[in-house]
Point group: C2
Chain length 307, copies 2
């Protein structure tokens, strides 16, 4: 197996479908992944918006196995493998690497709060050492609004210095552009910095970033990729403004249920609406409001039904 | 198997020992559990201070199996079984009940923030229904300073009403006495309310509470139980004040590493100092400060070496 190339461009935390028994539905996930790839969007499976933390390690392992068996190129997968328990992180990361995943997106352990940089460093370092595979590529996952466990610039730099061939990028979902900018300005050699939403895609590209990993790429993949592909053109600002209009609609709803509702509406497949507790699917009124808002901007999801 | 009796008195989130490879050490855990029981302290294994959320579901299942094989009465175990993933919660809860655990202490899923009461209700309801065992006894676990996912009084009441024989108690680790008091005043029939620390043990007993589930019962079990046994006596306030002195010392340090350090010092067993990342063991200076502070109050842990 050749060494994985570093990621760039647009990826999405692929939404995870559940069947009537609330079990993960590998076939439907495979279809969504194929559609994403057809739209030039890479697969950050098991991200926050994948309800990753509502899935067990065993369920995640089975799902990525099924995706690869179903023909998904693992090199296009940046699998979320950072768990609360060190043992889960090691097991899942090792499995993803063995399967050929192009990278792993790693949350810090997120139960204990106010932990030190030393403790977080030890977590990532232990995972890297116990996995012990030169093909491991770690993309750190900074999402303090949800994890409540931030990754400091000092910690990131320390990990890069100790593991320069392994710790190769980050997703910044702080929602704080000044934080992303500080990373971009840090001068880390070929370190891939992804904005956590397309909201900052253009800013990120103009400052040396690698792309974005965005929830709404599940529903608006082609347009987001188009901005990535054309960020140097005079149309870039207009493309960014168009993306913002769509994003702003989804942000008026609970994001994950709204993404799934859109897949249900435009994919004509209402089973997509299901979420695992503690999340709750959109109710009829929310669904009607979302449908109306998307119709008002002539929003479509071309190709989702053929996927 | 007879229906489990409801818990009362003092329980502790038993600290979890790790070996050199950072794997759980079942033998050392068994010794700590036996010592706790000999001091009249019940076993809230897999609580926050057990580093429960740094253990995989598989590791937890193996540990409780080993405890019961080692002679621990499962009726004395209130096992922490609430995980982020519904599938983990169901699996672990079902296993604990099958093993005869007297109860399960259930965190809400704690990754996604700002979730609704409906979503949290669905989580607990799904677990109860999928486990489907009349011997299941659920003690809810309210610890917003760490989980960042509070359990509202409305949610608790709704669960009690729907599952009166199953949802039988709560641990309140909010650190907010007015919240505990509001629960005590709610008039829930024989609902067992445990203070999350011995700090509120006397107040809790005087207001109809069931006891406490406290981290420091790992190190100060006999004295905490003594207050529980004597809370109606004239000495109760003095006993509470004595407990507070000990607790205040431990609270000056990161709690879990400090508890383990005390077990290492008084158990003459330095292997107890190990923690799993993201936690960090006390450093030499902290260890010296803790030792000195405990010596100044003539603190001991009688019986730990014989356990």
């Amino acid at each position: 197996m050749s060494a994985p190339a570093k990621f760039f461009g647009v990826l999405t935390p692929v939404i995870t479908p559940f069947n009537k028994d609330l079990l993960p539905d590998a076939e439907r996930l495979l279809r969504q992944c194929k559609w994403m790839l057809s739209q030039n969007v890479g697969l950050a499976v098991f991200g926050t918006n994948s309800e990753a933390n509502s899935l067990s390690t065993g369920e995640k392992i089975e799902l990525i196995d099924r995706l690869v068996e179903g023909g998904i190129d693992p090199a296009r997968m940046m699998a979320g493998t950072g768990c609360c328990a060190l043992s889960d992180s090691i097991k899942l990361t090792a499995h993803a690497v063995k399967l050929g995943a192009g990278g792993t997106l790693m949350l810090p352990p997120f139960y204990y709060k106010g932990v030190s940089d030393d403790g977080l460093y030890a977590n990532f370092s232990e995972i890297i050492q116990k996995v012990g595979d030169s093909n491991l590529r770690v993309y750190l996952y900074h999402i303090p609004p949800v994890s409540n466990v931030p990754l400091s610039l000092n910690l990131i730099e320390r990990l890069i210095k100790e593991y320069p061939d392994t710790v190769v990028g980050i997703k910044d979902s702080s929602g704080d552009w000044s934080n992303t900018k500080a990373m971009l300005d840090a001068g880390w050699d070929d370190f891939r910095i992804f904005a956590g939403a397309e909201t900052y895609l253009l800013d990120n590209m103009r400052n040396g970033g690698a792309g974005c990993i965005s929830a709404t790429a599940n529903v608006n993949p082609a347009a987001i990729h188009s901005l990535f592909a054309n960020w140097r053109t005079p149309e870039a600002d207009a493309l960014q403004a168009d993306l913002d209009v769509v994003r702003n609609i989804f942000q008026k709803f609970p994001m994950i249920p709204a993404l799934k509702a859109a897949a249900a509406i435009f994919g004509e497949d209402k089973d997509w609406c299901r979420v695992r507790p503690p999340l709750v699917a959109l109710d009829a009124r929310q669904l009607a409001r979302l449908t109306k808002a998307l119709k008002a901007i002539n929003f479509t999801m071309p190709g989702i039904r053929q996927a």
